[in-house]
Structures are given as structure tokens and as C-alpha cells.
């Protein structure tokens, strides 16, 4: 595969390429040793020359803007703090000739076939162990070898449906395999996004270079995934992600959208009768194929890591029963170890009767004696890796170590030889990368992808190429700030010019329609509604108390404060001693704690934390403005105000109320009326109803002289209405009527029930006599029977009757929340849609 003779044109001595000087001892992708440009690079090199430095700088900036607009990110956890980094894309792509690509394709497919056969043997007859072609320790010391998956035969015996291979090119022009990604290979989505952006930023160069399109690869990839579920003609395929904190979450969301599959988390799936189901509002929906981006040991807490909350209990059993296909199959991580490279040439001769077409970088597994001895002897010139930590083992470069460091490394290897692999140190090939001023040669690794098709395998005509962060850094990794490149594979046939750019993912997201919204999303919105309302409720209550402490409560504030404290002691928001006598300073410090103490259940701080967490989990369902309001409200609230006066705290609470009002306004005005919004509002209404009942009940029980009524009206924002209507000092019957049975008051219980009733009639399965519907009818009936006007005329008997009614309303409202959870979120009993 050398191409040293394919040289033709020398670049001009001035201009963009004047200072591009690759090191003579490494292979440069663009420029041959004699300085000439390799012919397949010519359209690009000349195109960039025409653009000039300023032109390339502009294009590079547009690429950066597009990445930001599309929200292409990579979550970095390497520095302990998690941070979202914008994905880096170099303005200069890597170009590969059609002839060379043809040879690579054949070699890559051979490799995927080989690894599939190795996996089928490891999880089947284990003949390779018996024949001595694989040392038993390579399996048994390997955490990627999942014993519970032994004997599971995936559909079509396909263990690998997507396989990624990291390639590098040696100084002699030969491509070498550095490593394989076999369980949940990442990067195809980034490669696709790179292409979508670069084909827009450099349209002329893209057209003139006649670049092979990526779209066709994803079409056959989808066909391949469909073929994994022969039991159905329209398989339901989902992409399983660990969630928004995963390193490559952007890619999961992007690919799901591009391929048209539902993006799900472990919690969205449930195993019943050895089949996998997606929990949706409409009921359980059978899942046939899971593309998993969760590492296999995390996939099933029952049979794999018991501490995993990312997986689905019973998934292994469902796979064993042959009721679900998993891409890639569970257990495929076993061949991801670098150690296996040492055995592949012999395995290829044995299983395929072929030599490996793309050789491996020379690899010595220290679990074998003579290999270990060689590695220890040559340690200073080799690269050492941990054998069994997947892609996360950082390489150690022997030539960068001091004498003592080498001795320490050797001692570690001797102590635990199976865990180490030594590899030849390869001088990576370089390609031009834009450094902001000019192209400079940087080392690269090219990640290629092979997918299963209905009748074989196909290679993506392109790759995710990664370059190091500087011209002399040997580490090529997104984690350490390296960049990526689009990879242009040229075509011999002219490309259809009607599709001059590569289509990106559609902006539509799956599940925005009313059907099949994952239950997790609506459950989080339901709780966002409840906690946002609880936050507002608590803030209003505390404000009512603080304003009286701050001397802003008018002439009767002292007696009102005492009545209010007694009532809050009754609802357990204040400790019981406040139901008796207390000093104002004592109450002030208690209230301050209820605002700022994050470890106190129900404090403003604690509730803000819950609202923040839920906001993050439903972020892609909220409009940008709504998200900003919620984010601001959580982050801007003062952390502590240890010496603040009640007045200053009051000010912070006022502000919080405004922000919460902005949130509910935004939600009412800007959210489309699907199930997502409906559950957010159900959460809010139900929470308001529960709080109102609890507070009215407490006032009824604790208030003898009516002093609690002004604070009660203030807290429910019903002061104005009451005064306008009754022009008198608040009385219990009229106050309670306004708060409980007056359906025109948007803060009343009757109003919450009216709204809830409308929502319930719109829910999936409405009218089928579901338990939450009949419970709700009972609730509404109890409220109708609740007569508060009697209170004034019939005295104690009426009081105790009202108390009974309120108790009943309270219990039933809480039960309603549990029933909603059972029916729509956890699916008990299960309904299959």
C-alpha cells in the first residue's frame, strides 16, 4: 500500500502551503518525501490555495459556529469536574484515494468476520482454547469475558453489528491496526456530523474531490439491524444511552434522531415474560433490537454488575431466550483487549485460512513468558498499555520514562503480568491540520467502521480521523483536547451533483407526537410540576411569616405570627414547640434554616436542587427560554445569608416568586399541548391541591380566633378577591369557601380539580375505567359534599365534619399521585400497546 511514487505537482513556494514541512521520518498523507503533493489530494490542496489564508480562516470559523449551533459536544470527565466541551473539527479533511480505500475495505471486512468467529467460539464450543490458539488466562483474567453470556447465540450468530478499527500508517506507507472497538463503538455520529458541516463549509472542494457519501452506509446499517429480528416484519429498534452525563451523549441523541430510533435509558425499559418492553404513556411497547451505548457489564444488574442503575434487570435472560437482539451482543467487550492482537494472525490462518490483510501493530501480551521477557528487555522502546481496561488505559511511552520509572513499571508488570500489553512504538503518519494561521503536519489515527448488512458486512466510506492537539504530541484522543477531521474517500465514478452536501440529522425528534412518549420523560415532567409548585408554595408560606417578622405585616402582625406558627407546627413545617410559646429571634433563625439549609427536607435550597436536577433531565423537552429561566432560578438564589435581616431574605423570596411566575407563564404560553405538558400541569395542580388541603386543615385545627385567616389568604394570593367581595375582616366560612369550593378562584381546590378533570379526560386510556379515573371521581364527589357555609351556623359538629372531609380529600389526593405513577410510569398492571 505504499504510494510514494504517485507524486506529481509541487505546491507553490508562497501561499498557504509554503511552510508545510512534514518530518522526513514519518509518512505524510498529503506530501511525498520529494515534496510533491499526492495526486488524490490535488483538488483539495489547490482549492484551499485559492481560498488563501483569510478564506480558510473564515471557513474554519463557520465550521466552529455550525458546531456550536448544532450543539455538538463531548462531555469530559478526565479532570474530575465534568465539563461539556464543544467538539473540535479541523477545517482540512483527510483525503484517501479510491484504490487505497478498496484495499482497506477488504481488510476491514476480513477483520470483522474474524472477530465474529472468535466470539462465536468463545461463547460457544471454546474450541480455540482446547486447540491452544487462545490461552485460557486471556479469557479468565479478562473482565470483558461474561460467563453468564456463555451459550447465548445472538440472532444470525452476529456478535458484531458495528465494529470500529483504529488504524495508523507506518513510515513505509503500510496501514496497521492499533486496536478494535467491539462492544459499543462510538464516533459514527461524530463522523456524520463532521461531514455534514465540512461539506457545507468547503462545498467547492467537496464537489471537486468527488467524495463518496456516507448516507448509503447508514441505510444498509439500518437494514442490517432490522434483519436481527426475524420474528417481526417491523422491528421496534431503540438506542440505549447511559444518559446526559455520558461522554458521548450528544452522539447518542444525534444518531437516534438520524436513524429514526427512540433514544432510551435503562429505566425506560422493563423485562416481562423474558421480553423487553419500552414503558410509554400508552402502555408497554415490545422492543426487538437494542443498540446499546452502555458498556456490557452495566447492562443488567441481575446477572452482571449489581450496582448498575444504567441497565435493565432481566436483559440477559431476555437475550438468552432469543426475544431481543442486542447490538453489539453482550460479552463482545472480551475481544476489545489489546492483548488479543498478538493472537489474531494465527487465528486468521486457523479460522479463515487467510493471512490478515491489514497487519496489527506488533503486540506482546505479558501473560506469556517469552513475550513478557522480551517486553521487559525492550521496555524503554515500547508502548505499554493495561490489557483489560478497554479504551481507557492510557498508554505509557517507554522512551519518555526515567530509569526509576522504567524499573517501577517493570516491577508492576512482573507482579501482575496478565494485566499488561507492550506494543511497538509506531511513528504515526501526519496530515495537514489548520492551526489558525497555516496548515501544519499533525499525527493522526483513523477510526473506520464496519457494519452488518442483511447479507454480509459493509465499510463506512469515510472515517473519524483524530489528530493530536499539537504537532509533537503523541497522544491522539478527544479526551485530551485533540481535534477531529472529516475523512474524504474519493470515488472513481463521478458523484451525483444534485446532492452536493451530506444531509445532516433531521431537526425533528422522535416522540414529539402524542404517541409513545417514554414514561420517564413524562414522569420527570410530572415531578418538575410538583416540585416547582412545592417550591412556590413553601416560598409563599415563608414569605408570609418573614414579612410579619420584618415588621411589614401591619398592626395585627404579632397575633397573626403566633397563629401562623401554630398552623405551621401543625403541618410539621415548623417543629412542634412553635405551636406553643417562642421568641421572635428563635423563629427568625428557624425560618432562615428553612430557606438556606440544603440538608433539610423541604427547605427552599433543597427544593431548588430537586428542580435543578429535574430541569436537566427534561432539558430537550423545554424551550430555550423556559430552560434559561429555570436554570437562572436555581443558580442565582443566594447560597447562604448568615447575617441577613428578615427583610433581605424577604427580598430574595420575592425574586424567586417572580421567576417561578415567569416559568409557569412560559409553560402556559409556549409549550405545545401534548402529554408532556399535560403531566407537567397535572403535577402542578395535584401538588397545589395537596398543599392547600393540608394548610386549610391545619388552620381549621389550630385557629380559634381567626388570626390565621389573613396569612392564609395572603399565602394563597386570594387577599384581593376576598376584600373586594366581602369588604370585611376575614371569617372562616367565607375564607374556606373561597379557597375550597369557589371554582372561579384559580387558587381554589375546586379550580385544581376542574383542571385535573380536563387533563384526565385527555389521557391515553381515558374512559376505560382506569383506577385513577374512578379515584378522581370519588375525590370530586367528596368536594361537592363539602359544605363550608355550615361552619358559621352549626358550630362544632360542622367543624368536625369538615375535618373528616379534609382528611379524606388529603388521603385520596396522595393516593391519586401513587396511582398515576403505577399506571403511567411503572406500568402496574401492564398493558401492551
Amino acid at each position: 500500500m505504499t504510494s510514494a511514487t504517485e507524486t506529481s505537482v509541487m505546491p507553490s513556494s508562497s501561499g498557504v502551503w509554503a511552510a508545510y514541512r512534514p518530518r522526513p521520518e514519518v509518512f505524510d498523507e498529503m506530501r511525498a518525501v520529494d515534496g510533491a503533493v499526492r495526486p488524490h489530494w490535488l483538488p483539495l490542496v489547490e482549492g484551499l490555495e485559492r481560498l488563501g489564508r483569510d478564506g480558510i480562516r473564515d471557513r474554519s470559523e463557520s465550521a466552529f459556529d455550525l458546531l456550536r449551533q448544532h450543539g455538538v459536544t463531548y462531555n469530559v470527565h478526565a479532570d474530575g469536574e465534568s465539563a461539556q466541551r464543544t467538539w473540535k473539527l479541523d477545517a482540512v479533511p483527510l483525503v484517501i484515494s479510491a484504490e487505497e480505500w478498496g484495499r482497506l475495505e477488504t481488510g476491514l471486512i476480513q477483520r470483522t468476520r474474524l472477530l465474529n468467529l472468535v466470539l462465536a467460539d468463545i461463547y460457544g464450543p471454546r474450541q480455540l482454547l482446547k486447540d491452544g490458539l487462545l490461552p485460557p488466562a486471556l479469557l479468565h483474567a479478562n473482565p470483558g469475558f461474561l460467563r453468564c453470556c456463555h451459550g447465548i447465540r445472538p440472532p444470525r450468530d452476529l456478535f458484531l453489528t458495528l465494529h470500529a478499527v483504529d488504524l495508523t500508517r507506518a513510515p513505509n506507507g503500510q496501514w496497521w491496526v492499533m486496536s478494535d472497538r467491539t462492544q459499543a463503538p462510538s464516533g459514527v455520529g461524530y463522523a456524520l456530523e463532521n461531514r455534514a458541516i465540512l461539506s457545507r463549509v468547503l462545498p467547492e472542494q467537496f464537489r471537486e474531490s468527488q467524495v463518496q457519501r456516507l448516507g448509503g452506509f447508514f441505510q444498509v446499517c439500518k437494514a442490517g439491524l432490522r434483519s436481527l429480528a426475524p420474528w417481526t416484519s417491523s422491528p421496534n429498534i431503540v438506542l440505549l444511552t447511559p444518559g446526559p452525563y455520558a461522554e458521548t451523549y450528544f452522539e447518542h441523541a444525534y444518531l437516534a434522531r438520524y436513524l429514526g430510533y427512540q433514544l432510551v435509558e435503562g429505566n425506560d425499559l422493563t423485562v416481562r415474560d423474558q421480553c423487553v418492553f419500552l414503558k410509554t404513556l400508552e402502555g408497554l411497547q415490545r422492543v426487538d433490537v437494542i443498540i446499546r451505548r452502555v458498556d456490557d457489564t452495566w447492562c443488567d444488574p441481575l446477572e452482571l454488575r449489581a450496582d448498575s442503575i444504567l441497565g435493565v434487570p432481566g436483559l440477559v435472560e431476555a437475550a438468552r431466550a432469543g426475544n431481543v437482539a442486542i447490538s453489539n451482543a453482550l460479552g463482545t467487550g472480551v475481544v476489545e483487549t489489546t492483548a488479543i492482537l498478538a493472537f489474531l494472525p494465527a487465528l486468521s490462518r486457523h479460522l479463515l485460512k487467510e493471512e490478515l490483510l491489514i497487519p496489527n501493530v506488533a503486540t506482546w501480551w505479558c501473560g506469556q513468558e517469552s513475550e513478557r521477557n522480551y517486553a521487559l528487555w525492550a521496555l524503554s522502546s515500547l508502548v505499554t498499555k493495561r490489557a483489560f481496561v478497554g479504551g481507557h488505559g492510557e498508554p505509557t511511552f517507554g522512551d519518555k520514562l526515567s530509569g526509576t520509572e522504567l524499573d517501577e513499571l517493570a516491577a508492576r508488570i512482573r507482579a501482575n503480568p496478565h494485566a499488561y500489553v507492550a506494543q511497538e512504538s509506531v511513528a504515526l503518519s501526519t496530515a495537514p491540520a489548520w492551526n489558525g494561521e497555516a496548515p501544519e503536519p499533525r499525527p493522526l489515527i483513523m477510526r473506520c467502521y464496519v457494519c452488518a448488512t442483511p447479507d454480509g458486512f459493509a465499510v463506512m466510506p469515510g472515517a473519524l480521523t483524530r489528530v493530536s492537539s499539537s504537532a509533537d504530541s503523541p497522544i491522539v484522543s478527544s479526551r485530551y483536547g485533540g481535534g477531529s477531521k472529516d475523512t474524504w474517500v474519493r470515488s472513481n465514478a463521478p458523484m451525483d451533483s444534485t446532492t452536493a452536501i451530506e444531509a445532516a440529522a433531521l431537526p425533528a425528534r422522535p416522540g414529539t407526537g402524542s404517541t409513545h412518549v417514554p414514561s420517564r420523560i413524562v414522569e420527570n415532567l410530572f415531578w418538575l410540576g410538583r416540585y416547582a409548585e412545592r417550591l412556590e408554595d413553601t416560598t409563599r408560606l415563608l414569605r408570609t411569616a418573614l414579612s410579619r417578622l420584618a415588621g411589614e405585616g401591619g398592626p395585627t402582625e404579632e397575633e397573626e405570627l403566633v397563629a401562623l406558627a401554630r398552623w405551621l407546627a401543625r403541618t410539621s413545617q415548623l417543629p412542634a414547640r412553635f405551636g406553643r410559646r417562642f421568641a421572635p429571634t428563635e423563629l427568625a433563625s428557624e425560618l432562615r434554616e428553612l430557606v438556606f439549609e440544603r440538608n433539610r427536607y423541604g427547605s427552599i435550597r433543597e427544593l431548588l436542587g430537586r428542580v435543578g436536577f429535574l430541569t436537566a433531565s427534561v432539558r430537550d423537552r423545554l424551550s430555550g427560554d423556559t430552560w434559561r429561566i429555570l436554570n437562572q432560578l436555581v443558580t442565582e438564589f443566594p447560597a447562604s445569608m448568615s447575617r441577613a435581616t428578615p427583610g433581605a431574605i424577604l427580598h430574595a423570596l420575592h425574586r424567586l416568586i417572580f421567576q417561578l411566575a415567569a416559568f409557569s407563564g412560559m409553560e402556559m404560553e409556549n409549550m405545545s399541548r401534548g402529554h408532556a405538558w399535560r403531566f407537567l400541569d397535572i403535577g402542578r395542580r395535584l401538588e397545589r391541591a395537596i398543599n392547600l388541603i393540608a394548610n386549610v386543615r391545619a388552620v381549621l385545627a389550630s385557629d380559634a380566633d381567626g388570626a390565621a385567616l389573613p396569612p392564609l389568604l395572603e399565602y394563597t394570593d386570594s387577599n384581593m378577591t376576598y376584600r373586594r367581595r366581602f369588604l370585611a375582616r376575614p371569617e372562616m366560612p367565607t375564607t374556606f369557601a373561597l379557597l375550597l369550593t369557589d371554582a372561579t378562584n384559580p387558587r381554589s381546590l375546586a379550580f385544581q380539580f376542574k383542571t385535573l378533570g380536563q387533563h384526565f379526560s385527555e389521557l391515553p386510556g381515558a374512559g376505560e375505567a382506569r383506577p385513577e379515573e374512578s379515584l378522581f371521581s370519588e375525590l370530586a364527589a367528596v368536594l361537592v359534599e363539602t359544605d363550608v357555609v355550615d361552619l358559621g351556623t352549626k358550630g362544632t359538629a360542622a367543624r368536625s365534619l369538615l375535618r373528616t372531609r379534609l382528611d379524606e380529600l388529603y388521603e385520596k389526593s396522595c393516593d391519586l399521585s401513587d396511582l398515576l405513577t403505577a399506571s403511567y410510569f411503572s406500568h402496574v398492571p401492564a398493558r401492551v400497546s
Partner: protein, 73 residues
């Protein structure tokens, strides 16, 4: 020597559990020095799914699911 062993495991939960999957490693295996005359596993409430199989090491195991069976609507 003839042994008669009864083993009982009881689970208690803080709240209602809708569905739960279990894997029991209770069935002793036949070995040169050990023959299992009779083995019986009783689960209460009655599982909706129950499957016996042999694990990687050759031990018999029992997988069972308790709780809500799926009913098509």
C-alpha cells in the same frame, strides 16, 4: 450420610414492588462425592416466569420473575 436440608429466604420491601427478577443459586450439583436425591424450589407468590438452567461453571440455577404478567389490551 444422608442430609435433608431446608433453606428459606424471605424478602421484605419498604413499599409495593410491581415486578422483580431473581436468580437463585440454591440447587446443589451432582459431584463424584455428592448425589442430589431430591430438590424442590418453592416460590411464593407463584412466579410468572420460571426457568432452570446450568451456569458457566456447571451449577444448576433458577431464574424466576414475580409480579405483573403482561396482558395485551
Amino acid at each position: 450420610m444422608l442430609y435433608d436440608i431446608t433453606h428459606r429466604t424471605t424478602y421484605g420491601y419498604g413499599s409495593d414492588v410491581s415486578v422483580s427478577h431473581h436468580l437463585a443459586h440454591l440447587h446443589p450439583r451432582d459431584l463424584p462425592a455428592q448425589q442430589v436425591g431430591n430438590f424442590r424450589l418453592t416460590v411464593e407468590p407463584t412466579p410468572v416466569v420460571s426457568a432452570e438452567r446450568v451456569d458457566y461453571y456447571g451449577n444448576p440455577t433458577n431464574f424466576f420473575t414475580i409480579g405483573s404478567p403482561t396482558t395485551a389490551s
